[in-house]
């Protein structure tokens, strides 16, 4: 795999260079990372049959990165799960895999069933079990790349919100990541070698794959912002000042949040030369703010679902774009990807016509783990022209459920979702997932979740909940209880900010929850 070969090159050339650093003060050099990953890989091979996916649970510890790499080196897909997720969610992921190894860089609050847990102390022993292997190209381990994941083997499985209330695992192959990375390294026309990359997103959010793979493939440093730092703006700004970062990767919301403080300027981050955005709509006001405060940096917008490896389109955002008064474009397809806009009958539409965005190309994931029927509904095969001679090549395709149009020059504009999926602060959320988890609470009769909009942007979620029994002395306490119980089952970003209690949910003539009546009935803010 080209990604792993790139990392090995830096291990050989600059073993002392820092590969990873976080705001808790921990760091890891390329030499240390390789040594730990190699040791862990041989222990994994001894502990488990090749090819079985491994769950890696923790936050932004150096050991997380070593575990990811160890999985790849030993021919296993890794499943990153951030410790901010409730243990019920972790259990729901583990339950979809057959008794996986669970590398517990952090200890889950309760014991996870149906998993073979390896606690941190053991992991640390594993990581230091062997003396550092030779890293010369002709040394024994580095030449033996036969165990490494490659081509169509799974590199990672990323679990994302599923409409039925159970998360679904997107199977991203080694080839997907290599193909994605080759393109990612060209973004912004900025050389990437030896640069420092800001990491905001948790590793269970595939936005983080952007900076993780770019940093390690180019001999740079991944600078991770731990959640404690992100929760305190005074701490966050101290960390940013200390970062020496060149390349910023985050959700647009996170940059918008920072722009609220007047000290978020090029003086705070003198080296920053590129802002890279993905995961949600980039507002012209955010891009314009960055242009003004960071005159030496470029702003690049990208688009792509987890099912096609992080991102597939890109466009440098100019002040002209911001001033045009129309939503910002999300970019042109990378070489190796074709974007089709489909009509309701599945026909390919013309430029300017709005329809469903379909991605065809060499970074489309294999499918959803263990769910052939669900996969068949959205994944398919198609031909696209690729390479120097524009030969037709058979690749996978994915129907995104996103709405958009292409202009005559092939520029893509995103216009929201066709279904009940929403994006909030970059996180992809199936409203049905929240509704199912609300209904699973013993005192909830029925529930519906709707996004609240302001200027066509989703500001927060509103849950309409009918209770079957009284659960608290006051309405406020009852609503707090619903939120608290829901937060034990779902990630914090999926818990609706506003809860409206009702005796019964309104139904439409078909007997389904009447969503438009809900929208009109109670005016939540």
């Amino acid at each position: 795999m080209r990604y792993l070969i790139s990392i090995r090159r830096w291990v050989q050339e600059t073993p002392q260079a820092i590969a990873f650093r976080n705001t808790d003060g921990a760091s890891l050099s390329y030499g240390e990372l390789w040594q730990r990953a190699t040791s862990l890989a041989s222990q994994l091979s001894a502990a488990d049959a090749a090819g079985t996916p491994v769950v890696v649970y923790g936050h932004k510890e150096p050991l997380m990165i070593a575990c990811f790499l160890a999985c790849s080196m030993s021919g296993r897909a890794y499943i990153p799960v951030d410790s901010s997720l409730p243990v019920e969610r972790l259990q729901a992921i583990v339950d979809q895999i057959k008794e996986p190894l669970l590398l517990a860089v952090r200890q889950p609050e309760v014991e996870i069933a149906n998993a073979r847990s390896v606690e941190r102390k053991v992991l640390e022993q594993w990581a230091s079990a062997k003396p550092a292997p030779p890293v010369a190209a002709d040394g024994p381990y580095p030449s033996d790349t036969s165990a490494w994941v490659s081509d169509e083997e799974l590199f990672y499985i990323l679990f994302t919100s599923g409409s039925s209330g159970v998360p679904k695992g997107v199977e991203v192959t080694a080839a997907c990541v290599d193909n994605f990375l080759e393109w990612a390294l060209t973004l912004g026309d900025v050389p990437k070698e030896g640069k420092t990359f800001i990491n905001q997103a948790p590793f269970s959010f595939d936005l983080s794959v952007f900076e993780l793979t770019m940093a390690l493939a180019s001999g740079g440093c991944l600078f991770s912002l731990c959640s404690e730092t992100q929760h305190s703006l005074p701490k966050l700004f101290l960390a940013l000042a200390d970062s020496q970062a060149h390349i910023w990767v985050s959700t647009p919301s996170f940059a918008a949040l920072c722009l609220n403080d007047a000290s978020f300027t090029q003086e705070l981050l003198p080296e920053v030369e590129l802002f890279l955005f993905c995961g949600e709509v980039l507002l012209p006001s955010t891009a314009a703010g960055l242009h003004e405060r960071f005159p030496r940096a470029r702003v690049v917008n990208t688009y792509g679902p987890t099912e096609s490896t992080v991102a597939v389109t890109q466009v440098p955002i100019t002040p002209e774009h911001c001033a045009s008064g129309v939503p910002l474009p999300v970019g042109r397809a990378r070489s190796g990807t074709r974007i089709d806009i489909l009509g309701t009958q599945g026909e390919v539409l013309l430029p300017g016509e709005t329809g469903e965005i379909r991605i065809v190309g060499d970074t489309v994931a294999r499918g959803y783990f263990g769910q052939p029927e669900l996969s068949a509904q959205v994944f398919g095969r198609a031909e696209t022209l690729m390479g120097e001679n524009d030969r037709p090549v058979a690749v996978r395709s994915y129907r995104t459920g996103d709405k958009g149009y292409l202009d005559k020059t092939g520029m893509l504009y995103y216009q929201g979702r066709l279904d009940f999926q929403v994006k909030l602060n970059g996180y992809r959320i199936e409203l049905g997932d929240i509704e199912e988890n609300l209904r699973a609470l013993p005192y909830v009769k029925d529930a519906a979740v709707l996004p609240a909009l302001k200027d066509e942007k989703i500001t927060h979620l509103v849950a309409y909940v009918a209770l079957s029994t009284e659960i608290a002395p006051s309405s406020l306490k009852a609503r707090m209880r619903v939120k608290e119980d829901l937060s034990k089952r779902l990630p914090a970003y999926m818990v609706p900010k506003s809860i409206v209690l009702m005796d019964n949910l309104p139904l439409n003539p078909n007997g389904k929850v009447d969503r438009s009546a809900l929208r009109g009935s109670v005016q939540p803010r």
Binding site: Q230, H231, S232, L233, P234, L236, F237, S253, L257, N260, D261, A262, S263, N425, H460, V462, S474, S475, L476, R479, M480, K483, E484, S487, A492, V495, K497, S498, P524, R525
Partner: protein
Amino acid sequence: MDTDTQLRQDIIALIAEVTCEDDISEERDLDLFESGLLDSLAAIELLVGIEERFGVDIAPTAVEREEMNTVNRIIAQIEQRYL
């Protein structure tokens, strides 16, 4: 029951708007972050609202979460600066 000053009533109204919680005055020592009523973005929204309505400028990087995590503490922060 003590009646709130106009300023306090206005502050509580602002917090109710930002948290989408009309009954927030019932629980003035409730940790708004822990209870999920405020997050980083909403906290900024609150600071922007405080500046717009009361002319009190609190830079987001000037206050820690623990200093503004309940209705009573937010009131105290504003009253301290309000002239």
